[in-house]
Symmetry: C2
Subunit: 269 residues, 2 copies
């Protein structure tokens, strides 16, 4: 691993921000390299990703098998790359507690995901779980997603948006213990109208469990479906994305439905 | 599958409530049978569980391999048991969309988990993810956890508590789109002081990634740690449990940190 020597500004030694990048699409994903591209001008970058796709792993952690970790390259810009058999959330923990354990991480970035993590998709998302995991220990943490599932998606606009948000996030204080869920519409940069701070659209996945029969006559199922949006208001993530805005949702890990604590007091009887 | 014929009350045919039970500890877990024991007097019970332990799977869903589903027994009380290679959340989806697809589910129960799902543990929990999954489509959903990790844990008190809460939940309206996170202290029933409606304690897992070397000289890691409670207030789940109350937390799936939407408007610039 390369340790930065610091940038001299007058008499003060300013160390470069230390940025941990993780993802859920695995170490070969184009979106990972797009995020490295966006981040590397802002500081020292260390990448820890799964050794293959982990979409839909949500906040899963690995408890039943041992975790492996391998540094497999350092690129021409000095970015160190590690991969693991673990989940996206394991990547954050391995980054914090093993690879960078004696150092202060300034920013945790996750993505850029191939596909949306708006609305209820956030709860299934490995990309956003990794960002949320960062916020649990109060690291500034951002998950980026592009609304394009293709492995060959064009990340040009997403890189420009990510650069802008990374720069702002490093310069400003953010509220404590939150992460940011950034979703980027699938349009060229000049068609993006701006960034909107949004709330999570109320919706659900209408699932279809497609039944098939294998070569041996045994049934199996593929989980498929589509997002149903029940919430056509202008302050939501889905509205913003449909109108070519970037959606930026502040995300918390307190799942308490505080508004119903008094309603449920009858269950104390 | 056994379909209920209904209970005649005067001239009205009342059908028995239909209860779907899932878990994350798998089809052999003692806690699963404890929950069936608690639930079966209230209605018709159908069980769908993973084919082995899935602790720490959180809200994971299976996208990379086909899902298998097998009905492996019907017990003497007519409870149908299914198991799958999927996750706890997959169990809910398979129960809703394949096994019970033409029927109205009245209650989804998850557990009884071997071990706590209080505080931040909720975000890693397969048990609670399954309950949350039920609430996404507005089913009444409850996750039960006993503060005892042992596979041989004594569920006597937990069964009594679960019966009480299941009965209340079937009788009363609950707020829409929430689930209940019920944690039960590891003490005999007579030492349980009551039920408290709580909020999620602010805390985190202090992780230790224990480094070992395998027989071939290669490093590996086990994820271990302990819960750090930063929030010693009397309205929290941790406080209730430490004082021998059952903790009942209303849980939502909207992760928006609404309180910071205005704070973050500067990022729209």
């Amino acid at each position: 691993m390369g340790y930065p020597t610091g940038i001299t500004q007058g008499k003060r030694i300013m160390s470069k921000p230390l940025i941990l990048i993780v993802n859920d699409d695995g170490y070969e994903a184009k979106g990972l390299y797009a995020l490295v591209e966006a981040a590397k001008e802002f500081g020292e970058v260390v990448v820890v990703t799964p050794d293959g796709p982990r979409s839909g792993y949500a906040h899963g952690i690995t408890m039943n098998v041992p975790l492996r970790l391998k540094q497999y390259k350092t690129d021409a810009d000095g970015v160190d790359y590690y991969r693991t058999n673990g989940t996206p959330v394991d990547c954050v923990k391995l980054g914090q507690k093993v690879i960078l354990k004696d150092r202060k991480i300034d920013l945790i970035l996750s993505g850029i995901n191939h596909g949306s993590n708006s609305s209820i998709s956030i709860i299934y998302s490995g990309t956003m779980a990794a960002a949320i995991e960062g916020s649990v220990e109060n690291y500034k943490s951002i998950g980026f997603s592009l609304l394009d599932y293709s492995p060959h998606a064009d990340f040009t606009a997403a890189i420009a948006i990510a650069k802008k948000i990374i720069g702002q996030t490093l310069q400003h204080e953010l509220p404590e213990y939150i992460s940011l869920n950034v979703n980027i519409p699938k349009v060229p940069l000049e068609e993006i109208k701006g960034i909107k701070i949004t709330r999570q659209t109320h919706g659900y996945w209408h699932e279809v469990l497609e039944e098939r029969v294998d070569c041996y006559g045994r049934k199996y199922y593929w989980l498929d479906g589509w997002l149903v949006d029940n919430d056509p208001h202008e302050d939501t993530c889905e509205w913003a994305l449909k109108h070519n805005y970037v959606s930026l949702q502040p995300v918390q890990f307190d799942l308490t439905a505080h508004q119903y604590i008094n309603t449920l007091k009858f269950l104390e009887e």
